[in-house]
Symmetry: C2
Subunit: 282 residues, 2 copies
């Protein structure tokens, strides 16, 4: 049972939600392709893949935006040279900072009071933060909106996939150990339950080439990404080496595909980008 005042408030809430969803739809209609990058576990290089995918597409002249939906560990701004940037209000919504390579970026990091502030938020607040970043940022006309999901299959990932029914698909990043392979299976199941096509699996930190002797060592295991892809019937997009030089570019704010285009990592990455572009079409 509820009072008349409750009813009135519920009505207002409902109207606001509908307006927000309409705005979201309008903004998303102007984005050609929406691709989410996810991982079962954290620390496998999901954000590294997102920013290098963004940089590779931008280098081909595409208009690219990145939504950093990893509220607990929003690392995309730093990786794209936008550390310390801020969101500003504009005529048509929130103005997203633009990276040196022309990528529009919206991240929770831009809203945090300081670099060492944690986001201690309960689920519903996190969902509303993501909804606002998606619907209120003035993304404009984009060829690609890449969404860096938080690791795992929690509230944030649910929210994004529910709000973007027209998503082209998800790229799943893993490293080649059994534990990570197991959680990749969970990610595939999750994506399928949400009706998001799985574009494929990227295996990161597959091997290490010693800079002293040139010998290759498998650091975590071998062939796990390819095996899971084949078992579950999803495409395998490729393997990336653990390259200390590429790791440095994460801290410097310049993605390695742009910084070291001739490195083995960048070459392997361009093959992966090609497969993703082929999957989503033009």
């Amino acid at each position: 049972m509820s009072t008349g005042m409750d009813e009135a408030r519920k009505g207002e809430d409902f109207v606001r939600r509908v307006e927000e969803l309409n705005q979201l739809r309008e903004r998303m209609d102007r984005v050609k392709h929406k691709v989410a990058v996810m991982s079962g576990k954290g620390g496998v290089g999901k954000s590294l893949v997102t920013v290098n995918l963004a940089a590779a597409l931008a280098a081909e002249g595409k208009r690219v935006g990145v939504l950093d939906a990893d509220l607990h560990s929003p690392t995309v701004p730093r990786m794209l040279g936008l550390k310390g940037a801020r969101l500003e209000a504009g005529e048509n919504g929130i103005i997203a900072p633009v990276s040196p390579s022309g990528i529009k970026v919206a991240s929770m990091d831009f809203l945090l009071p300081s670099q060492d502030s944690p986001v201690i938020w309960r689920g519903p607040l996190k969902m509303s933060a993501i909804r606002q970043l998606l619907s209120e940022v003035d993304w404009g006309d984009l060829d690609y909106l890449l969404i860096d999901l938080p690791p795992g299959t929690g509230d944030e990932s649910l929210t994004v996939l529910q709000l973007l029914p027209g998503i082209d698909g998800v790229v799943i990043v893993t490293i080649p150990n059994e534990v990570s392979g197991q959680v990749v299976e969970k990610s595939i199941t999750f994506a399928r339950q949400m009706n998001a096509p799985v574009i494929g699996i990227v295996e990161n930190m597959s091997y290490f080439v010693c800079p002293h002797c040139g010998e290759k060592t498998h650091l975590f295991g071998e062939g796990v990404g390819e095996r899971v892809a084949s078992t579950r019937g999803v495409p395998f997009l490729g393997s990336l080496p653990l390259d200390p030089e590429a790791a440095k570019t994460s801290d410097s704010g310049r993605p390695f595909v742009a910084e070291n285009p001739e490195s083995a990592a960048a070459k392997a990455f361009r093959e992966i980008v090609k497969k993703i572009v082929d999957f989503v079409g033009d």
Copy 2:
């Protein structure tokens, strides 16, 4: 405004919550030391540190339990050789499976229908799952209960730290790149806001020794853990190499401190354990 029935239901809920909290207090009173292992980012080896800490303490004759509170990526059972184990009901509560080395383990993984099932849960459900594992598992008398928190500063970590006000402290695991160092700062702020003492920082994957030529390479960066520890005034507990042999033990179910006690990683790890034991006292 609410009806009489609402009131009655609220009353029942309240009584149930109080009973649950009393049971939790009784169980936790029988645990000498409670230590949480957390990380700002995932994939830095938080679970590896948890299970090896558990194995090192068990090897010294301590009675050890591990609560795997990482609901989205519950990897502790596999790392302790308990993959596929199940929770069972006993006279005094849920009976936790015991690892070959005598460690009691409670994990969401034991409740999942299959290895590839994701936990797609909203915040409140996750909190109640953790509360139940803590309060309903028959931990018995323990010297140490280690809690493997999920990465970041979300619902699960909040819940555990709120339910365990008598926690001895938290160990924070990181890898040595700037991005991870930045999120470690968030973890320290979070722990302090929750009044949990910071036992110290463990830097994992600090370097790699090539098995072919013996040369050392820093894979991600250098000295980040030590620098953050010194800046924020928390102890630095030590560095661990990335050791492909240790990584294999994660998949085999036998922690490397027990499997390869003479390895550089195991030796470095024992130094870290000593500092943690010194911090929490006997």
